[in-house]
């Protein structure tokens, strides 16, 4: 069991910001979904267009997850520690 508790909040924030920025860049150009529909007229290309569209929706959701929700969750850990520190310090004086 770890007994040590330490966080350099500046480093932590920089890393979490890095995750948010990189997560935001994880996007796919959606014009390919439309182009895939025009590519050919076969059942397999229709099916692949459907799969492509579904995959792009997943990629969009992942982008929001990685760029907003995950950084929010990680920042919550930092903020909990900061607030804890603040409240305890106020209680001491």
């Amino acid at each position: 069991m770890a007994t040590e508790v330490y966080m350099d909040t500046e480093v932590f924030t920089e890393i979490v910001d890095g995750i948010a920025t990189s997560g935001y860049q994880c996007h796919l150009d959606s014009s390919f979904v439309k182009d895939s529909e025009k590519m050919a007229k076969t059942d397999i290309t229709d099916l692949l267009s459907e799969y492509t569209s579904k995959y792009y929706d997943l990629a969009d959701n992942y982008k929001v997850h990685a760029s907003e929700l995950l950084p929010h969750g990680l920042s919550t850990i930092r903020d909990s520690l900061i607030m804890q520190d603040k409240i305890i310090s106020e209680a001491i004086d």
Partner: protein, 449 residues
């Protein structure tokens, strides 16, 4: 020709060009994901973040987030593979020319025309041959009469357009190869179950995203109890911190009113899904009609990261043991802790799945009991319920230290009689020693924390 149905078209050059652009874009996407993975690596190797919370959140990044990435990229590879496979199969089964083009409606139109030519040749040829034979029989004695032979022409037309047959000829074979290629590729693509994989991944991502978005910082005080409600753990009762809210006394008054006034208890009950035991302890209500027989936690699932934030604000201990039912992995996850305004106590939930983020096993309705022996020597009344999540929190036992928690013991029982003998034996042999399981009666287990 009935094999075609609606008209189909394929242009190798256009498909190759589209795929080249698509693959280039996806290569960029994979590189961007690699960049994100580097950031995850930085998080994991950050030695300026240490402690239990640090280790657990790093484990979440490693086992939760990296796995999402891996699976998303895996689905990406599978999608690109299907495009590749389609193009390769067109080349090997239909037409290998890099600029091959095929349009079934054009081929069918050509076939229709050639069948007409064939019939013209056949009728005219037969007529000419008949006449030639008549001439030969009448005037053959005067010299040689050559009978014209239209059979080679008819055979050539037959080979090309099938003649009288509906299902033969070069044009039919071209169309048939194309149709079979299309059908086989659909079967191959469907056998890969990519949409099912994407759906399953998307569901887990949504559960995780919802859970992350629900996380709130924990507040608890030492002198100034600025808490009305506070907890970041999704698997535990929610509290709300009110920035300009109640003082210690105000909070108590509110809690007192909440505890004793039936007129207002309904509102928190709706939000929390809690009800009281005879001893005044709080118990989660997974059957409450006001919340449509649900509790909101079930939509979130549970993962170890919540325990991290729970543990930052207060003291808690937890353990997990797994069992298999119907081929599916389940976890019995149980806690004891200081649940702030709800008081000290514990809970036990059943979770489904082997992933880092587990779903609440709302399909389970198990007879469960919980009883708490507090640090001060008192004991709660045994609470029992048919549920997937049972709790017992005592608002009179508050602000437990780690030593208080060590001196507290919680006994849980679960009726596992839904397991078949093989599942039960596997469960017992895997867990009995480590978790000091007692078998009470049949398949009812008792364990403590």
């Amino acid at each position: 020709m009935s094999v075609v149905g609606k008209s189909k078209e394929y242009d190798s050059e256009i498909v190759a060009s589209f795929m080249s652009d698509l693959f280039q874009e996806h290569k960029k996407y994979q590189n961007r994901m690699l960049q994100l993975e580097c950031e995850f690596e930085r998080y994991e190797t950050n030695d300026t973040h240490r402690g239990k919370a640090a280790e657990a959140s790093k484990a979440y990044i490693r086992e939760g987030e990296k796995r999402f990435q891996y699976e998303i990229l895996d689905a990406n590879s599978m999608l690109l593979h299907l495009y590749d496979h389609m193009h390769d199969m067109f080349s090997s089964k239909v037409d290998s020319h890099p600029r091959a083009k095929i349009k079934t409606n054009v081929l069918l139109e050509i076939e229709r025309h050639y069948k007409n030519y064939y019939h013209d040749v056949k009728e005219s040829g037969d007529d000419i041959e008949t006449r030639a034979r008549a001439i030969e029989s009448k005037f053959g004695k005067y010299g040689k009469v050559t009978i014209p032979d239209f059979e080679p022409s008819k055979m050539a037309y037959k080979k090309f357009c099938g003649g009288d047959s509906e299902n033969s000829g070069y044009l039919y074979e071209c169309i048939d190869k194309f149709v079979r290629f299309d059908r086989n590729e659909c079967e191959y693509a469907e056998s890969m179950q990519l949409p099912e994989k994407i759906d399953e991944l998307d569901t887990r991502l949504t559960v995780s995203s919802n859970a992350l978005s629900m996380m709130h910082a924990v507040f608890f005080g030492m002198k100034h109890y600025n808490i009305k409600l506070a907890s970041a753990s999704v698997g535990t009762p929610k509290y709300w911190y009110e920035k300009d809210g109640f003082t210690q006394n105000g909070a108590w008054e509110k809690n007192f009113i909440f505890d004793h006034s039936p007129s207002i208890t309904m509102i928190p009950a709706i939000v929390w899904d809690f009800r009281y035991g005879k001893d005044g302890n709080y118990h989660v209500d997974t059957h409450d009609n006001l919340t449509f027989g649900t509790c909101w936690q079930q939509f979130m699932g549970y993962m170890e990261l919540y325990d991290v934030v729970f543990d930052i604000g207060t003291n808690m201990q937890s353990r997990q043991m797994t069992f298999y039912y119907g081929g599916q992995e389940y976890t019995i996850w149980y806690w004891k802790g200081d649940y702030l305004n709800l008081g000290a106590g514990g809970e036990c939930g059943i979770y489904r799945g082997s992933e880092y983020v587990k779903e609440c096993a709302t399909n389970m309705n198990l007879h469960m009991t919980i009883q708490v022996d507090y640090a001060d020597g008192t004991k709660s009344e045994m609470w029992e319920d048919d549920t997937w999540w049972i709790t017992d929190f005592n608002p009179k036992q508050m602000w437990y230290s780690e030593a208080d928690l060590d001196a507290t013991s919680i006994t849980y029982t679960i009726d596992m009689s839904f397991l078949d003998d093989a599942e039960w034996n596997d469960f017992i042999s895997a867990n009995q020693r480590d978790f000091d399981l007692k078998i009470l009666d049949g398949k009812i287990i008792e364990f403590s924390l």
